[in-house]
Amino acid sequence: MTDARVSWVERLGLIDRRWLYLVLLISVAVAVVVRPLFPDTPSTFVQPVVDRIERLEPGSPVLISLDYSPAAAPEIEPMAFAMVRHLLMRGAHPVFISLFPEGSAMFQRLHAEVLATDFGDLEAGRHWTNLGYKAGGRMVINALRQDLSAMYHADMDGRPLADLPGLADCSRLGDFSLIVALTSGTPGLKEWILYGGDPTGVPVVGGCTGIGTPEYLAYFPGQLRGLVGGLKGASEYEAALASLFPERAFPRRAGRVMGPQTVAHVVILIFLVLGNVAYLRGRRREGGGGAA
C-alpha cells in the first residue's frame, strides 16, 4: 500500500510564499539597521572606469548622461555620485544631460547631495554644466555629433552656451574626453555606444542596473571601455574612491547596502536548498512507493 503521508521535509517545498516574504523582510530590515560595511575591490570591469578617470587632464570635458528613473535610482545613484565626485576631485568638467524625462529630477538630487554638499565652492558653468533633458533618444545623440548647439542653446540656468567657460573648446560630441552613460533602460548605454562612442571615437564607460550588466558586457572591452554594474559595481567604485581619497571620507551608500543584499541572497539560497531537498525527498518517495 502506498504511504501517502507527506513528511515535514516535503512540506518545506510547499511553504506559502508569504512566509518567504516575511523572512526576507525581517532579515533585510535587520541588516539595514545594522548597516555592516564590507571591504571591496574593483573588478575587471570597474577598474578600467577608475583608471580612465584617473588619467583625465584637469579641465577635460566629460559628458555624463543621467538616463535613469527614480525606480532605478537606488542602484544607479550611488555610482553616479561616486563617479561625479571622482571627476571633480580630478578637476575634470562634467557636463550633465539626460535622455530620460526624469533625468532633470535625478540631477536635482545629485546637485543636492554631491555638488552643493561636497563641492559647494565650484561654480555652475565654470566647473560643471547642466544642460538638462532633451526628448528624442538616439536622435539627440546624432545631433550632438554634429553640433551641441543643435540641441542646446543654453544651460538650465539660462546661460548661453557661448558664455560657458567650461564648454569653450567643446562644440560637438567628438570634443569630449569621455562619455559616461548611466542607464536603466532605453535610450541609454547601448545608444551611446552605437551612435555616440563608435562614430566619434570618444571612449564610452557606463553604469547600469544589475540586470542589464550581462547585456552590456557583450560590448566590453572593445566599444565599452568599462562598466559599473549594479550595486556591487557601485560598491566597488566607492571602495576605489575611498582608497584614492581617504581624507575626504565620502559616504559609501552602495557599500552600506551590500550587507542587506548579502542577507537577501543568503535567504533566497536557503529557501532554494529547502525547496530542492523537499522536491528530491518527494520524488524518492513517489519512486519508492508501490501500487495500492
Partner: protein, 235 residues
Amino acid sequence: MRRLMPQIITTVVGVLLVLTALMARPEDAPTGGRLAFFDFIDRNFSVWFNILAVFAFILGGASLMKSHLIKIVGRRSDWPYSVVTLVSFLVVLVVGLAKLGGPPGLTGDVTHPEAWLQTVFNGLYDPLMASLYSLLAFFVASAAYRAFRMRSLEASILLGSAFVVLLGRTPLGTWLSNLLPPSLAFLRIDAISMWIIRVPNVAGQRAVLMGIAVGVVALTWSVLTGRSRSRGGQA
C-alpha cells in the same frame, strides 16, 4: 483604400529609413544633394514620430477618462478605484499644465524646487516607483523558490549557476573564497561567478541577439511588403 494608403505610407517611409541607415554620415565631409536628403530624414523622422506620439497622449487620456467615468457612473465593481484614478490624473494634469507654485508661463520650469509638480514627484511618484521596484526582490525570491528545482540535468546546472552567481555577487562570496588556499584559487566563487557572467552568459546572449537580428529583418520585410498580419488577424 482604407488599408492601401497606410501600407503605401509604411512602405515609403520604411524604405527611406532603411536607405538612410545604409548611408554613412561623415561629420566632416561636405554634404551633397543626396546626402543632405538622407540627413534630413534621419534628423526629422524620429522627431515627427515623437510629435505624433505626443498627440496620442490626448487619445490615451480621453480613453482613460471615458472608461473610468463609465465605471463610476454605472457603479461597476471597484468604481472607487476609478475615482482615485481620475482625481489623481486631473490633479497632476492641472498642477503640471498651470505650473502651479513654480515659475509661471508656458516655458516655466516644472522641476523648480517650489513647483507643486516637483512636490508631487518627490512626495508621491518617487516613493511609489521605488516601492514597486522593490517588490521585485520579493517576487524574485518566490519565483526562484518555485522554479529552481532539480527536475533535469539542465535544471540542475541552472540551479548550480544561480547558487554560484548569487554568492559571488556579494562580499560573502569573496570572504568564503579567501578561505581557500592559493593552490585552489581557481575555485574562488567570485572568480567563477564572473566567468559564468562573462563567458557562457555573454556567448548565449550574443547568439540570441544574432537570431533576433535575422528575425527583425524578416519581420520588417513582411511589414514593408504588406504581408504582415499585425494589422489583421487570421482565424
